[in-house]
């Protein structure tokens, strides 16, 4: 017997960066919102305190903060001629879970797109020809907005996170020590860049001597005591060395918990439900509108949460999975190129030194 909960304006599926930021905006506008998170609540002092967060075996090799593949995993194949098999244990491809999602275990590399990244199709076609965007089955597209449209939002999120870095271009003026090729910024980073350890300092020296423009990477690892616009206090990074795949017990890494969640939780029109796994997006009989989601709690109780707005804010593959289970959209067919659900999936692509 499915229980029906009182209707809310917005329901979020998964409670990481996306849901916490959107919920803060929408609840701030007066909407009521419920976030459903499949795993447990966790916060900095009880889940990865400084007294035990520097544990390579537990977090890196035993995958303590990642999706527990014992119970739920994906299948993988390199192309459609292979048989997809279970992704049995986490490797380089990391699936997050729990309150804060992958925002808990991320490294803190806090890049903006370059203006050309946002116009990847037209920029590369103009510069390198059509084969660079349509050869080898490529499906590169432009985003429907420009870098300048996004700039204020980038700046706002960097301020929320207390990002450490050195600007290379402030309103068109090139700044020494920053990235001279970046899109123009409305201001300097909220905090100065991290100090360089030995290896990158050697790289920077060699690159400078060769006439290149090395610059410190923008990082959501905080370099001085910082209080963000929502009143969240963050601590100075101690360079302990345990960032990616680990939680930061020192409040030095921007996570949902250290930046936005405390303020969000205090809003009376927001509720977080943990151990609640969404099974399906429900729709009107004509299929055109979402009416809410059905989820199951840890007692096995099925619950319908009606909402005017359904936000799929889990990891992208989980969002796609849920859309397919719910009969939403047309699945992407790599042979015909038709369908958009699951199209153009890519894991993070980044090169750094």
């Amino acid at each position: 017997m499915t229980i029906t909960k009182p209707k809310v304006d917005v329901v979020f599926v998964g409670f990481g960066w996306t849901a916490s930021l959107m919920a803060h905006e929408l609840c701030g506008e007066g909407l009521t919102a419920v976030a459903l998170e499949r795993a447990a609540a966790r916060d900095t002092p009880d889940s990865y305190a400084t007294t035990f967060d520097q544990d390579e075996l537990r977090y890196n090799w035993r995958h303590h903060l990642f999706q527990n593949t014992t119970y739920d995993t994906l299948t993988v194949r390199n192309n459609s001629s292979q048989v997809a098999l279970p992704y049995r244990k986490v490797g380089a491809f990391l699936l997050g879970t729990g309150v804060g999602g992958s925002g808990v275990h991320w490294n803190g590399q806090h890049w903006r797109f370059l203006p050309s990244d946002i116009k990847a199709y037209s920029h590369n076609r103009e510069r390198y020809g059509m084969a660079s965007v349509r050869g080898d089955g490529l499906t590169v597209q432009d985003y429907p907005m420009s870098y300048d449209d996004l700039e204020p939002h980038y700046a706002r999120f960097e301020s929320l996170c207390g990002v450490s870095g050195k600007a290379g271009n402030i309103r068109g003026k090139i700044q020494a020590g920053g990235n001279p090729f970046e899109g123009q910024r409305s201001g300097e980073y909220p905090n100065p860049p991290l100090e360089m350890t030995y290896a990158p300092s050697l790289f920077a020296k060699a690159a400078s001597e060769m006439g290149y423009h090395p610059f410190p990477q923008p990082a959501s690892n905080i370099t001085r005591p910082y209080t963000n616009v929502l009143g969240a206090q963050m601590g100075k990074c101690t360079y302990c060395g345990f960032c990616e795949r680990f939680g930061c017990g020192n409040y030095s890494k921007a996570t949902p918990q250290t930046t936005v969640v405390p303020s969000l939780m205090m809003m009376p029109n927001f509720e977080l439900r943990t151990e609640s796994e969404v099974l399906k997006v429900e729709r009107t009989p004509d299929g055109k509108h979402a009416t809410g989601v059905t989820y199951v709690d840890s007692a096995g109780q099925e619950i319908f949460q009606p909402a005017d707005i359904v936000v799929l804010s889990a990891y992208q593959l989980h969002n796609v999975h849920l859309m397919l289970l719910s009969g939403i959209g047309k699945p992407y067919d790599p042979v015909s190129g038709e369908g958009v659900v699951g199209r153009n999936y890519s894991y993070q692509t980044l090169s750094l030194a």
Partner: protein, 270 residues
């Protein structure tokens, strides 16, 4: 439901070892698949599995003093998995992978077999964070581990297979008694997928065993290996210091501190 009711009705979020042992997760999931010795350390909170109570949270994320998610799994000296015969194999094979030399102790001198024993008895051995459901075709190399065995089951299955083969070929001797050259030869066959009695599982075991030996040698001593932090001293790793701020810009200088372990820090009570 009031906040007070919620607090009263909520099961302990971690806490003492007793709380963990009696948690619903152990009861729901642990009873059927774990030996009694393993339960206390096997399941931890916050590790991304369903099974805790659903909570409706408003006001703040919950925090219960003294209920932190400290490392217990695999840290208890009471955990035991390996039989005497299995242990003899593990000692001999681990010492082929890391023999003693002038630079540092052997795997067994660093208590790597103790580490492996505890790991196999705890959640790693029992297959936490490892999907073991079907299907079980061997798969392509790039599809990774596809065995249906949990790590503990793989150790338990493959060691007798190896020992039977050794006994057949070497007049009834055990792996531990055939000497380093033969041991190395057998391990090489396993690594190359040429161990004819079961090449697939022998190779899967070798890959896992190699990793476990390295883990036991270099992981924090709270897990039973890296005795006296000898492996960290060997490579000059000062351990998990809280604060390196004063050292980050002193490029190329040796950090003179002796290594530190998580052991003894506040909050770690195993």
């Amino acid at each position: 439901m009031s906040d007070a009711d919620k607090k009263a009705g909520r099961l302990p979020r971690g806490g003492s070892g007793v709380d963990i042992a009696l948690s619903r997760r152990s009861i729901l999931l642990g009873g059927g698949i774990l030996g009694t010795g393993a339960i206390a350390g096997a399941f931890e909170h916050h590790d991304g599995m369903l099974g805790g109570p659903s909570e409706s949270l408003k006001g703040s994320l919950p925090y219960m003093d003294g209920a932190t998610d400290v490392p217990r799994d695999g840290t208890s000296p009471d955990l035991r998995f390996l039989t005497a015969a299995e242990k003899a194999f593990v000692v001999a094979a681990a010492d082929r992978i890391i023999p003693a030399d002038a630079s540092g102790p052997s795997a067994s001198e660093a208590d790597v077999p103790v580490f492996i024993d505890r790991q196999l008895a705890s959640s790693f051995g029992q297959g936490q964070h490892l999907y073991t459901g079907g299907p079980w075709p061997n798969g392509l190399p790039q599809q990774g581990y596809q065995s249906r065995f949990t790590p503990a089951a793989l150790y338990r299955y493959i060691i007798p297979v190896i020992e039977a083969r050794v006994a057949r070929a070497y007049g009834g001797k055990s792996f531990a008694s055939v000497g380093p050259d033969v041991q190395t030869e057998i391990l090489k066959e396993m690594e190359a997928g040429q161990f004819s009695d079961d090449p697939y599982n022998a190779k899967a075991f070798f890959v896992m065993f190699l990793q476990n030996v390295k883990e036991g040698y270099f992981a924090d001593p709270i897990y039973g290996g890296n005795k006296d932090m000898a492996a960290w001293r060997m490579i000059g790793f000062p351990g998990a210091h809280y604060d390196y701020s004063d050292w980050v810009s002193r490029h190329g200088e040796r950090v003179p501190f002796p290594p530190v372990s998580l052991r003894g820090r506040p909050g770690w009570d195993a």
